[in-house]
Symmetry: C2
Subunit: 355 residues, 2 copies
């Protein structure tokens, strides 16, 4: 058995892979592959409807919010958000907690004035800035709730009366959130929602249509809402597999249940990192992510050796991002505690053999 | 056996479905699903490289052109093309041969002056306008080579010295083309290239970087070229299945071979439409498409009855688009002559039983 700690695209449940493979040969007993059915067929319209309904149920999305399945990943949202929301000459506030947060701000600069309210860049983003001011005349405030590369996570929405937009690409569906606190939530699917190729957007309807900009149809949230995520051919298979994965999550007991598992998984690994004399965490303890656990060695020369052991133990994808180094264990919903234990065992084995 | 005449997403070869399903369970003997592998893995980088190389080989793409795999479908290209190419205050020329051609022009109006050089809208797009002038001061000329809804196709590029952009979503890879005649070719994959979720763009490098516009990174062709279609997480599975399909096409003998099959398939069906006293074609004979064959009945009241027979004979997806009515048989690369014969047989059976 392989233990896939990859940062994304990432592990999904084995049951989902089984169903997903079956539908490529015969979708829903239609005698057709899911890859060849019309996106306008009754069968696929039901897939989209069920996927939306599962998102609404699992995240308890209020009725005055729309749920959209788009393309282009979070990176496309970096541009679509200001294109839809910022009036000409308008201003938005961004919190800089990493490369992705910083890219979001950079793209927004094409559309207006961008204030960086705080940044932890000077420490290579090892912590989340606190106690910053969000200008009250900003059209919106944007932040990234989980910083995949640096292993930090923001569990509480920063307090502000300014409409708040959050990139939850790598922690959505991993813990309970109050959607009503936010005005727009977006996430590339390829962590806890599904495979690559689809992007989830949850947007409060009355946030839209106010910027006065002329927006190309394909980039206009209101057009996608009107068309029920079917303005043009959607990424059929990515939505279908997301539906299977959301069904799995619901059957597991929903987000409340998975959050408890995620807490235990993260604690198990962080405990070992603290206990083991060869390893140390890189993120500030109070900001540690439950999804991406970053750690290094006191003796960096040994890191290659541990990677070799990890490979022998079928621990996949634990090499750290080049900008942090060391290791990163991404422990998304579908990764079981067995895999955490396998990693912990390898860390202990390494310690034993180097005493 | 089902005969899938759907307009897109559409039939792909059964061999492709078999391989595509296998990789969802175990990709390339990695012990991992294609849905959970990192897009930065060596294995997936090889997929992208092979897909590009197959496109280049099959279409004989010159070296000074880039081949990109993007998201958002042809509809996103409607906006990206003028965003990248049209200077502020610039002008582009569009030929109006249907709803999609018209939408392309409409979206471009967000970025500059758009001249419609000719339109067949007054006849519900049953023919392709000829003998129009393309203004020499246009930055580019845009047309749609195959009009899926109306069953018309433009086989010869209109003569002009103005850089020419073509939407080949529904006929790319179905017939030989000379890429060097064009400056940019684009196509949603979900007809002859692969499943929904990926868009092919073939662009002459020296067309780019001249508009003087500030373009969000995700919409900038040059950024995608620099990143080898990996600026952000690509639609992994859609690219993978496209690769399988392009391998199949190459093994069939490439485009020269498939074009011969497509000619025979189309001729067989058009011949029956002409011969059979109950049916008649809707498109002008000289502009008839080889991919989407549109036809109606002399007695429209009988159309529902023929649809019922078609369903009984496992002929899927032949109901015409609402704006044309009647029937549409989409006869893409993967649809074999057996399926054409099954449709012809049903048409003859219908004729016999109504004599």
């Amino acid at each position: 058995m392989k233990h896939n700690f990859g940062a994304g695209p990432c592990i999904l449940p084995q049951e989902v892979f089984q169903e997903a493979a079956k539908a490529v040969l015969d979708f829903n007993n239609t005698g057709l592959s899911i890859l060849e059915i019309s996106h306008r067929s009754k069968e696929f319209e039901e897939v989209v409807a069920e996927t939306e309904s599962l998102v609404r149920e699992l995240l308890n999305v209020p009725e005055n919010y729309s749920v959209l399945f788009l393309q282009g990943g979070a990176s496309q949202q970096f541009a679509m958000i200001p294109m839809n929301l910022l009036p000409e000459g308008g201003k938005a506030a961004y919190l800089d907690t990493g490369v992705w947060a910083s890219k979001a701000a950079k793209e927004a600069k094409n559309f207006g004035q961008i204030d960086i309210v705080a940044s932890s860049k000077e420490s290579n983003y090892t912590y989340v800035p606190k106690g910053f001011d969000i200008p009250l005349d900003a059209t919106y405030f944007h932040y990234t709730s989980n910083n995949t590369i640096y292993g930090t996570e923001i569990f509480e929405k920063p307090q502000t009366t300014v409409p708040t937009i959050v990139d939850m690409s790598s922690d959505i569906l991993s813990r309970e959130i109050n959607v009503a606190e936010f005005d727009l939530i977006y996430a590339g699917a390829q962590k806890n929602m599904g495979p690559a190729g689809v992007t989830l957007v949850i947007v409060k309807n009355d946030l839209l249509g106010k910027s006065g900009r002329s927006i190309p149809t394909i980039f206009n949230y209101q057009e996608h809402i009107k068309a029920g995520s079917m303005y043009n051919t959607p990424p059929v298979y990515s939505i279908f597999v997301s539906m299977l994965n959301l069904r799995w999550l619901k059957a597991k007991g929903g987000i409340k249940a998975i959050e408890q598992e995620n807490i235990i998984k993260a604690r198990t690994l962080y405990d070992e990192i603290e206990r083991n004399t060869f390893f140390k965490g890189t993120a500030a303890v109070e900001d540690r992510s439950r999804m991406n656990i970053t750690f290094v060695m006191d003796t960096p020369e040994l890191e290659a050796e541990f990677l070799t052991l990890a490979k022998e133990r079928n621990l996949i994808g634990i090499k750290g991002h080049r900008s942090v180094g060391g290791f990163r264990a991404s422990v998304y919903n579908a990764l079981g505690i067995t895999s955490i234990n396998a990693l912990v065992d390898a860390m202990r084995e390494f310690e034993e053999s180097h005493k």
